[in-house]
Symmetry: C2
Subunit: 501 residues, 2 copies
C-alpha cells in the first residue's frame, strides 16, 4: 500500500517526538545532577544518562528511519516548513550514522576519564594530571573529524557541531580583521584614567541578591510559568521544551556582578528557548539555530541591554532599595562605568566585553593546532602562557588560572569557543537592527520597558528555530551577513563614553 | 554456540539494569513534576513520562527476553539469589505480557481522563463529575482482572499488584477479627475524658518547622548524602536507586502535626529504600518486598517510634528550642497524649492509629463490590456516607470530605488500601520483635539513639529486597506470620496509658 505524504510525515513526527522525549528526559537528569542530586547518587545517575543517550541514538540511527527520511525528502507535497524539517533531520541522520557506535562508546569513556582527570588536575593545580587523558581525547577528535569528513581543515568538522558551515577560513579572516581594531580600542582605553569598581566588591547578602536577580529576569520577561531558576556551581541554561526552560545562577557574597550578569546572560538563553515554536516540539524547527545564535541572545541581554546606561537608569534605583548602604553616594554614572570596566585579566568568564575576544582567540588558535596535530597536550601550558602575555599582557601564575580554567576540552568539546566571540558580534549587529527599527527604544528601556526588544527577537530570531543557517538568519533579520563592524561601532561608542580624559 | 550460565545471567542483568535506568529516569520526571515543574510544563512532561513508560514496557516484554528468562530459570548452577532474581523476573514477565499493549494504552488514557475529572470534581465538590470516568476505570479494572487471571475473586488480582498473594479471603478474615477488637478499644477510650490537643494548632513558623523536620530525619538516620527532602502538595517518597532517595513533605503553619509525622512516615519509607541492596540495582532483589512491607516501615517510624513517649523524651526539649512559646507550660506527658489523641474523623490521612483501620475497611469493602460488579460508581457516595456513619459515627458533609478525598481510584489503583492497615499490623509485629531482641531499646531511644531500630530493620527486612514474600519475610524476622494481636497489644498498652479516668 502506498502511504500518503501526510501519513509518512506523521510517522516521522511521532518518531522524532519520542526521541525528543528521551533526550529531554536525559536533560532533566542532567539538570538535576547539577542542582539537587545527593552526592552519593552520582554513579547511578551517570549510567541512567548514558542509557538514555544510547536509546535516543539507537532510535535515531535506525536504518528504517533513514529510509523513511529518504522517501519523505523527495515528496513534493510537503509544506515548506515540513520539507525543511525533513531535510535537516536527514542531514542529522547522515551525520549520526557516520560515527560507529563503538567509536561513540570509546569517546564517551574517554570523556568520562578526562572529565575526572580535569577535576583532579584543577584541585591539585597541575596540568600534568590532565595531559594524558586530554591527549586521548584529542586523538579521538582527530579520528572523529576524519569520520565526519571535511573539505579543508579537520577543525572545520569540529566547529560544524556548534555552528553548521563555520570554517577555519571564515574565522581566521574574521579574527584577523577584528584583532587590530580591538587593539586600537584597547590602547585608547589604556591611555585614559581607569574607572573605579571597588564598590562592587563589598558584601552583598545572598538572599537579597537572589531576589534582585529574579526581579531582573521578570523585567526582561522571562516567563516563570514556563521556566525557573535555581542555584548551581556553574550557571547554565537547559530546556525540556519551550514551556519548561531552566536557568541556574551562582551567588558570590563578596561580588555583586557575578550573579547579576549571569542572570541576564542565562536569561537571554532562556528567552530564546521559550520563544522556540511549541508546535515544532521534537523537530528541527523547534530547536535553536546554532550555538553562535544562542550566544548572541545571551550576550544581547547581558551586554547590549544589561550593561547599558538606559537599562540601569530604570533598574539602579531598584538595586538601591535592596542595597542602600552599598551604593550610597555612588551615582548612576559611576555605577555604569564600573560595570563596564575594561581590564586584561586571566579568567575568560570574568572578562569584560572587549578583552573577552582575546581569550577566545587564544583558545581558537590553540585548538586548531591540536586538531591539526601540530601541537600536543604537553604543549598547551607554554602556548597558553605565551599567548596570554602576548595578547593580553598578563602573566599566568598557575595552570588553574591558566589552561585548566575551562571545562570544554574535558567534555570533548572542541570547536566551541569561536561561537562565544561570534555570538557577541551577532548580538551587536542584531541590537543595531533593533535600535534602527525602533527610534524610541532607549527611551522605552529607560522607563523599564524591554518588551520591544523581546518582540523583535521573537519575530526575527526565535520563531525560526533551525529554518535558516546562522548567517542567513542574520541576513533575514538585519539585511546583511555577519559584519563585525557593528561590534566595533558599539564598543567605540560605549567606551568613548566611559573612558574619557 | 552454547552460552555459559554466567554469560546468560550477565545478559539478563544488563538488560534489567537498562530497563531500570529508564524507569528511574521516569521517576525523576515524576518527582520533578511534583516539586519543581513550571505550571506550563505539564503537557510535555506528561508525554515524556508516557514515552519512557512505553519504552520500559516494550523492552521488558520483548519475546527474546522471555526466552532468555525461560532458559536461565532452568539452570542449576545459579546462586540462590541469582535464581530468585530470575524466577521473579519471569513471573513479572508473564504478568506483563498478559496485558496487550492496546489495553495498556486504553487504561493509560482512561486514567489520564479520570485523574483530571477527579481534580475538577474536588474543585467543584461534586462526585457526579467523577462518576463516568470512574466507571470507565472500574470496567477496565474488571477486564484487567480477567486478563491477569485469579482463583477466587477478581479483587485478588488487584491486591496482588501491591502485595503478591494477598486475597479477599485472607483480608476478610483479618478484618473480621480486627474489627470487634478495635471497637472494644474505641468504646473503652470513649468512656474516658478526652485529651486536649488544642496547643498543636497554634501558629508554627514554616522555616522553623522545616528545620525541625530535617533534624528529626537526621535523628532517625536518613542519609542526606543519599537522599533529600523537598516540599510538595502531597508528601511522598520516591527513589532512583538506593543512593538517591527523595522525600517530600508539606507544612501547615497552623498545625504542627502535619509536617512532623509526614517527615517520620516518609522517612521510614526512605530508610527502607536506602537499605535495599545496592549491588542488586535493577533486579528484583534490589526492589522492595511489597507495598504492605513498605508501609510497615513508614508506620513503624511514624507511630511505634515517632509517637512513643521515649522518642519525645529526647526530642521534646529539642522541639521546645524551636518553639519555646508554643509549648510553654505543656509537659511532655500532655504533649505525648495530644499527639496520640483518638477521635473518629472524616479524613483518612489525618486519622489516629486506631480509627485509621475503619477508613481502610470501608474502602476495602467498597472496592470489592465495585470490582465484583455488585456496586457501580453511582452508588459510591451513599455507600461511603452510610459506612462512615456506621463504622465511625460521623456524618459526611460533602463529597470532598467524603468519597473524593483519595487520589487512588483516579490513578486506577484498586486493591491498594488494605496494605495501609496490613502495613500498620506488620509494623507493630516487627516493633515487638525489635523490642524483644533488645531489652535496652526504650532506654536507648530515650537518649536519642535510634540506631538499633534501623540496624535490626536493615538486617531483617531491608537487605532481602524481594527475596521473600511479605508473609515469609515477616516469619523470618519475627518467628511467625502476620498476627494482628501484636497491634492490639501495642494499642491496648499505648491507649491505656493515655486514656485514664
Amino acid at each position: 500500500m502506498m502511504e500518503t505524504t501526510g501519513a509518512l510525515y506523521e510517522a516521522y513526527k511521532t518518531k522524532m517526538q519520542k526521541i525528543a522525549d528521551v533526550k529531554y528526559a536525559s536533560a532533566v537528569l542532567q539538570w538535576d545532577q547539577e542542582t539537587y542530586l545527593p552526592v552519593k547518587g552520582g554513579d547511578f545517575r551517570g549510567r541512567q544518562i548514558a542509557t538514555l543517550s544510547e536509546l535516543a541514538h539507537e532510535s535515531f540511527t535506525d536504518e528504517k528511519f533513514g529510509a523513511l527520511l529518504q522517501e519523505l525528502v523527495s515528496k513534493e507535497d510537503l509544506l515548506n516548513t515540513e520539507k525543511r524539517n525533513v531535510e535537516l533531520s536527514l542531514e542529522d541522520y547522515k551525520k549520526s550514522t557516520k560515527l560507529p557506535s563503538a567509536f561513540v562508546r570509546q569517546m564517551s569513556e574517554a570523556v568520562n576519564k578526562s572529565f575526572h582527570a580535569w577535576i583532579e588536575a584543577r584541585k591539585k593545580n597541575s596540568f600534568e594530571i590532565f595531559r594524558e587523558p586530554l591527549d586521548a581525547i584529542i586523538q579521538l577528535k582527530r579520528q572523529e573529524a576524519d569520520l565526519l569528513g571535511y573539505e579543508k581543515h579537520p577543525y572545520d568538522a569540529m566547529m560544524n557541531d556548534y555552528d553548521k558551515g563555520l570554517t577555519v577560513s571564515t574565522v581566521d579572516e574574521l579574527f584577523a580583521n577584528l584583532r587590530p581594531q580591538l587593539l586600537t580600542l584597547l590602547s585608547d582605553i589604556e591611555s585614559k584614567p581607569q574607572v573605579d569598581d571597588l564598590f562592587l566588591k563589598q558584601h552583598f547578602d545572598k538572599d537579597k541578591q537572589w531576589q534582585f536577580g529574579m526581579e531582573l529576569l521578570t523585567k526582561i520577561h522571562f516567563d516563570f510559568e514556563a521556566g525557573r531558576q535555581d542555584l548551581s556551581e556553574h550557571p547554565f541554561t537547559t530546556n525540556f521544551n519551550s514551556k519548561d526552560v531552566r536557568l541556574t545562577t551562582r551567588i558570590d557574597e563578596n561580588d555583586f556582578t557575578n550573579m547579576t550578569w549571569s542572570c541576564l546572560h542565562e536569561g537571554g538563553h532562556g528567552l530564546y528557548e521559550q520563544g522556540l515554536p511549541e508546535d515544532e516540539y521534537g523537530l528541527p524547527l523547534g530547536e535553536y539555530c546554532s550555538i553562535s545564535i544562542h550566544e548572541s541572545q545571551s550576550r544581547l541581554w547581558e551586554n547590549c541591554v544589561g550593561r547599558g546606561k538606559s537599562f540601569w537608569q530604570y533598574n539602579y534605583p531598584l538595586l538601591n532599595t535592596h542595597f542602600p548602604k552599598q551604593f550610597e553616594n555612588i551615582s548612576l554614572d559611576q555605577f555604569h562605568k564600573a560595570i563596564n570596566k575594561v581590564q586584561p585579566s586571566l579568567i575568560r568568564t570574568e572578562a569584560d566585553e572587549l578583552t573577552y575576544h582575546f581569550h577566545v582567540m587564544i583558545r581558537y588558535e590553540l585548538e586548531k593546532k591540536l586538531v591539526e596535530g601540530s601541537l600536543h597536550a604537553a604543549d598547551i601550558p607554554s602556548f597558553w602562557n605565551e599567548h596570554y602575555k602576548k595578547y593580553l599582557g598578563v602573566d599566568v601564575p598557575d595552570d588553574k588560572q591558566g589552561c585548566l580554567q575551562d571545562v570544554h576540552w574535558s567534555h570533548g568539546s572542541f570547536g566551541y569557543f569561536a561561537t562565544y566571540s561570534i555570538g557577541s558580534l551577532y548580538a551587536a549587529q542584531l541590537y543595531a537592527a533593533i535600535e534602527k527599527s525602533n527610534p524610541l527604544l532607549e527611551n522605552e528601556i529607560q522607563k523599564g520597558n524591554n518588551s520591544n526588544v523581546l518582540t523583535w527577537l521573537r519575530q526575527h530570531i526565535h520563531k525560526y528555530g533551525r529554518y535558516y543557517s546562522s548567517g542567513e538568519l542574520c541576513r533575514q533579520a538585519t539585511g546583511e551577513l555577519l559584519n563585525s563592524q557593528y561590534f566595533i561601532d558599539y564598543a567605540t561608542k560605549k567606551y568613548s563614553d566611559i573612558y574619557r580624559k
